[in-house]
């Protein structure tokens, strides 16, 4: 900030406090490709042995690739559903005239604030009734539904910034409201849409509780439950190098996406959002 204050003490203090996290990050990276002498923490040998889970099923939990594909389907579909649905409904709430609009708006705010995880038990039972328990499609629907109020809220914020005059001009030029939305308004909210898409994808990718409870079987497992299995199964021999390799494999897309889209995402994270 200004040159009136010295920053060295602050840097020192922050460094000390950040040390545990930095050590965790560093060793997570290093340990995946090295081995150390028993009892020592300093890596001594380079090895790709810890990545063996990629080509053979040493874990007894099925192929990691199935889980990866499942995770892609899960995160991709939820993001697509959330975006498509909030794209239309947020526009209706932001711009269209229809009865009970107030009610719907209040509903969105309340749902947006509501802690969805408390509903997990009822959702579990509903999926049992519907026969969607332990299926990928069931978890996708649930995740999309729970993410939707947030999506609508974010998209409404983006629609609200589009000047009314643009729409008025479109209507004057003879375009229907639908066409105005399609041709004139959508292009204006496109940046917001892509931010929401990325955000929902990441949220789906990281989701853990929903797949754990609603799709515990190995057919529909995603990477989060695949990895959690190592942590939660006491009978397994603890092999942190292997666990970390799986973890890094799992988190790689997240880190990449974050690095590429950092600025866009900050808009959503910083916007007083939940998540």
């Amino acid at each position: 900030m200004t040159s009136n204050f010295r920053s060295l003490p602050v840097i020192t203090l922050l460094t000390i406090l950040s040390l545990p996290l930095v050590i965790m990050y560093a060793f997570t990276l290093v340990d995946t490709v090295t081995d150390a002498e028993p009892g020592s923490l300093i890596p001594s040998v380079f090895t790709l042995h810890h990545w063996r889970f990629l080509w053979d099923d040493t874990t007894g939990r099925g192929s990691v690739w199935i889980a990866t594909i499942n995770t892609f389907i899960f995160a991709g579909s939820t993001a697509a559903i959330v975006c498509a649905t909030s794209l239309t409904s947020a526009y209706a709430l932001s711009r269209l005239n229809f009865p009970a609009r107030r009610f719907f708006l209040a509903g969105v705010i309340i749902l947006h604030a509501f802690p969805t995880i408390t509903l997990i038990i009822a959702i579990f039972l509903i999926l049992q009734f519907l026969g969607l328990f332990d299926t990928l499609i069931g978890v996708i629907m649930v995740k999309a539904a729970l993410e939707l109020p947030f999506g609508i809220w974010v998209m409404k914020g983006f629609y609200d910034t589009v000047p009314w005059e643009i729409e008025m001009a479109g209507v004057q030029d003879g375009a229907s409201r639908f066409m105005v939305w399609r041709k004139l308004v959508l292009p204006q909210v496109q940046p917001g849409l892509s931010a929401l898409l990325i955000f929902s994808f990441l949220s789906g990718w990281s989701e853990f509780i929903l797949p754990l409870v609603l799709a515990p079987g190995s057919d529909a497992q995603v990477l989060s439950t695949y990895l959690a299995y190592f942590l939660l199964d006491d009978s397994l021999e603890v092999d942190f190098n292997l666990f970390k390799s799986v973890g890094l494999f799992y988190a790689l897309p997240v880190i990449l996406i974050y690095l590429v889209f950092q600025k866009k995402l900050m808009n959503i994270y910083g916007g007083g959002s939940k998540g």
């Binding site: 000047p163 001009a169 209507v171």
Partner: protein
């Protein structure tokens, strides 16, 4: 095409903003809706273009009743205050949009866009984006887009408000030129009396949802129906004095002003006198004594406020000359033929 608004009523929630307003704009005429903010002029404009719905009354374009038609079917061109150009489209696409909506073929669209671009003098800008244009250029594009499908009526909502002073002058004459060349019926909404007077054939001056006076600009300036109209037009503004009719004179404190022959039979008792600055000064003889209480020099002209002994203030505008100083005592005259008389309630006598 003639535009006819009859018994137009508009309410928001329970508040009636405009009650039974009548307005006729003749074919090819440019009409100004002038008034202070909140007078209902924008509401009227938005109703004519169909963005607001009417709560009562009818609207005709020529013989066509458009009262219940949505905007899309009214065939009205609108230029918005902030131009509302579509930022993601090139200028060409912007202008072509109303034609695309009508699903015209590409050749026709290209031809029409070319023609209108010539008319508003922007053919070289067609491939740019709105963000790359200056305010004046954006204004021209907005006009082109509003005119390209040959609307029955052109509506201009404060079109010059977002321009700097120099461009405003230029666009004033440009808009008028284009309106005259196309011969389109146009309505200009503005709060700026200079714009209204310089651009339009007639002015409808509005206040509180009603049209107070509808007439040609010079007539409105010289022959206002009440103190509101007199005060709204003219810069520097007209000065009002409380006067009493005594012995064939308007008495203002110790000073007296002759009553013109025309007014002589109509006035008695208390009146309000309206004196425009150009009709008060040494060139009109003497009669009003007071002290200079304010001096502003505008280069070509000087502006003086003269405070009379009873506290009333008169304004005077004079060609730049030997400067009088604050506090100087002057004795100037009034062109009594041009003094406007109003009842104490403000109605013109």
């Amino acid at each position: 095409m003639q535009l006819r608004l009859e018994n137009f009523t508009k309410t928001f929630e329970s508040l009636t903003v405009i009650d039974k307003l009548n307005l006729t704009v003749e074919s090819g005429e440019m009409m100004a809706l002038l008034g202070p903010s909140g007078c209902g002029k924008s509401t009227t404009l938005f109703t004519i273009c169909g963005i607001h719905r009417m709560n009562g009354g009818t609207l005709h374009f020529g013989d066509r009743d458009v009262s219940d038609l949505p905007s899309q079917k009214r065939n009205v061109g609108v230029v918005f205050q902030n131009y509302a150009l579509y930022p993601h489209m090139s200028i060409r696409e912007n202008i072509a949009f109303p034609l695309r909506v009508q699903k015209l073929d590409n050749a026709t669209i290209t031809r029409k866009v070319g023609e209108i671009a010539e008319l508003v003098h922007i053919p070289e800008l067609l491939d740019r984006r709105p963000a790359q244009l200056s305010g004046g250029q954006q204004q021209r594009v907005a006009l082109a887009r509003a005119l390209v499908r040959q609307p029955d009526v052109l509506l201009l909502d404060e079109p010059l408000a977002n321009l700097d002073a120099k461009l405003r002058l230029e666009m004033r004459s440009e808009i008028r030129r284009i309106q005259l060349e196309t011969g389109i019926t146009a309505i200009l909404v503005t709060h700026d009396q200079v714009e209204a007077m310089s651009m339009c054939d007639r002015i409808a001056l509005m206040k509180d949802g009603k049209i107070v006076q509808l007439s040609e600009p010079d007539q409105m300036y010289n022959d206002p129906v009440d103190t509101f109209v007199a005060g709204f037009l003219g810069n520097p503004p007209i000065a009002f004095l409380d006067a009493t009719v005594v012995d064939g004179q308007f008495r203002v404190g110790d000073n007296g002003i002759a009553i013109s022959d025309a007014l002589q039979p109509k006035v008695n008792g208390q009146v309000q006198l309206g004196i425009r600055p150009e009709y008060f000064g040494p060139q009109f003889g003497t009669g009003m004594q007071g002290q200079i209480s304010f001096v502003e020099t505008q280069g070509r002209e000087d502006l003086y406020n003269v405070t009379l002994p009873n506290g009333a203030v008169l304004r005077s505008i004079q060609p730049a000359g030997p400067r009088l100083k604050l506090g100087d005592t002057v004795n100037w005259g009034i062109a009594s033929d041009h003094a406007l008389a109003f009842t104490p309630e403000g109605t013109r006598i």
